[in-house]
């Protein structure tokens, strides 16, 4: 048994599902390969793997969206007691949240790669998420970093904060709607 197969067997057994060797004949695309991979199989076939990943997905989501929204409110002048020097560290925290969210999201994608890849709402969600990431990077460069040296925020900062909030909250909106617009895989 190759090392890859050994790892596959280990992961599947520890997730409580029966080990099946890869069925090469049924794999025609990368999406098929993802679904048949040990990660995809464990998430879709184990008893609670899908929900465990969803739980991590929600925790990561709350971290990234929650912290970014707090930083947006800071720009709007509603967060007293937070110095501009705190923003860099808080954004780093938000990225940790995004990492948890993205890794669990990737595992969820593997479990239903064909369905997710061809889902319009999924593509819209990913697009909005990427726009959210860009907006946060831009805010960091144009508002938070300059705020370290000058107390006066740039005039466009408030509009940027509203846009950032709208983008990140819309990711949640579309993400939630996904389970109603496409048939759920498990429950």
């Amino acid at each position: 048994m190759s090392t890859v197969e050994w790892l596959r067997q280990g992961l599947m057994t520890s997730c409580g599902i029966e080990y099946q060797p890869v069925d090469a004949a049924s794999i025609t695309t990368t999406l098929d390969w993802m679904e048949q991979s040990a990660v995809g199989a464990c998430v879709s076939q184990s008893e609670s793997g899908y929900y465990v990943m969803l739980a991590f997905h929600a925790m990561g989501m709350a971290m990234i969206v929650g912290i970014v929204v707090m930083l947006d409110l800071w720009i709007l002048g509603l967060m007293r007691g937070i110095k501009p020097q705190a923003t860099a560290g808080l954004i780093r925290f938000a990225w940790y949240g995004l990492a948890i969210n993205a890794l669990s999201g990737l595992a969820l994608f593997f479990s239903e790669a064909n369905k997710a890849f061809y889902s319009v709402s999924f593509r819209i969600k990913i697009a909005l998420m990427l726009l959210g990431v860009v907006s946060t990077l831009v805010l960091n460069k144009t508002v938070f970093k300059p705020a370290l040296t000058s107390p006066q925020l740039p005039p466009r900062a408030r509009a940027q904060a509203w846009l950032s909030m709208a983008l990140w909250l819309s990711v949640i909106v579309v993400g939630r709607l996904m389970s109603y617009l496409t048939a759920p895989a498990a429950g």
């Binding site: 707090m70 967060m79 937070i82 560290g89």
Partner: protein
């Protein structure tokens, strides 16, 4: 639970299921998704506010987040929590008995109660002590524990909530 207790839950359950709220949640097809969206957005909002307070209580961001003003984030967290209580009641109104039988929901409620007690400790015990410290002061072990418990308990609340469908409720 004694017979009277069981009876009052049965009564509450039938009263809720007959309520206009319950019928609205089940009859209008967008009611459930919209309530979920609100529940998730407010949850993120609350987690953001709570995390900021907790990390400072735990001693991070000492020089950059003001100890004396950290509790000013509380109204934001409470407002978001209120949205989640209201949307949560809307979910429960459709089948309270099924939720009460759900192990994940029970776990979530226990963690919520503990998080509530933890918040009361912060508000009535820790907050007064913080004011006697300098604005960039080092918090004591008690404050650090309250901050840490808050993060752990809210994480478990999220965990419990997301696990509800595993035990048969979607």
């Amino acid at each position: 639970m004694n017979a009277a207790g069981v009876q009052s839950i049965v009564d509450l359950n039938s009263w809720l299921q007959a309520s206009a709220l319950s019928r609205f949640m089940l009859d209008w097809k967008w009611a459930w998704p919209i309530a979920e969206i609100l529940h998730y957005c407010a949850m993120s909002f609350m987690v953001g506010a709570v995390l900021l307070m907790d990390v400072r209580l735990m001693g991070f961001f000492r020089r950059t987040i003001s100890l004396h003003q950290i509790h000013s984030l509380t109204p934001w967290a409470l407002a978001a929590f209120l949205i989640n209580v209201l949307t949560g009641v809307a979910f429960l109104s459709t089948r309270l008995n099924a939720y009460l039988d759900n192990a994940a929901f029970e776990f979530k409620v226990i963690c919520l109660a503990l998080a509530g007690i933890n918040f009361l400790l912060f508000w009535f015990v820790v907050r007064a002590r913080l004011l006697s410290l300098p604005d960039d002061g080092e918090t004591d072990l008690f404050a650090k524990s309250v901050g840490c418990s808050s993060i752990v308990l809210w994480t478990l609340v999220l965990w419990g909530g997301r696990m509800i469908p595993v035990y048969g409720l979607g």
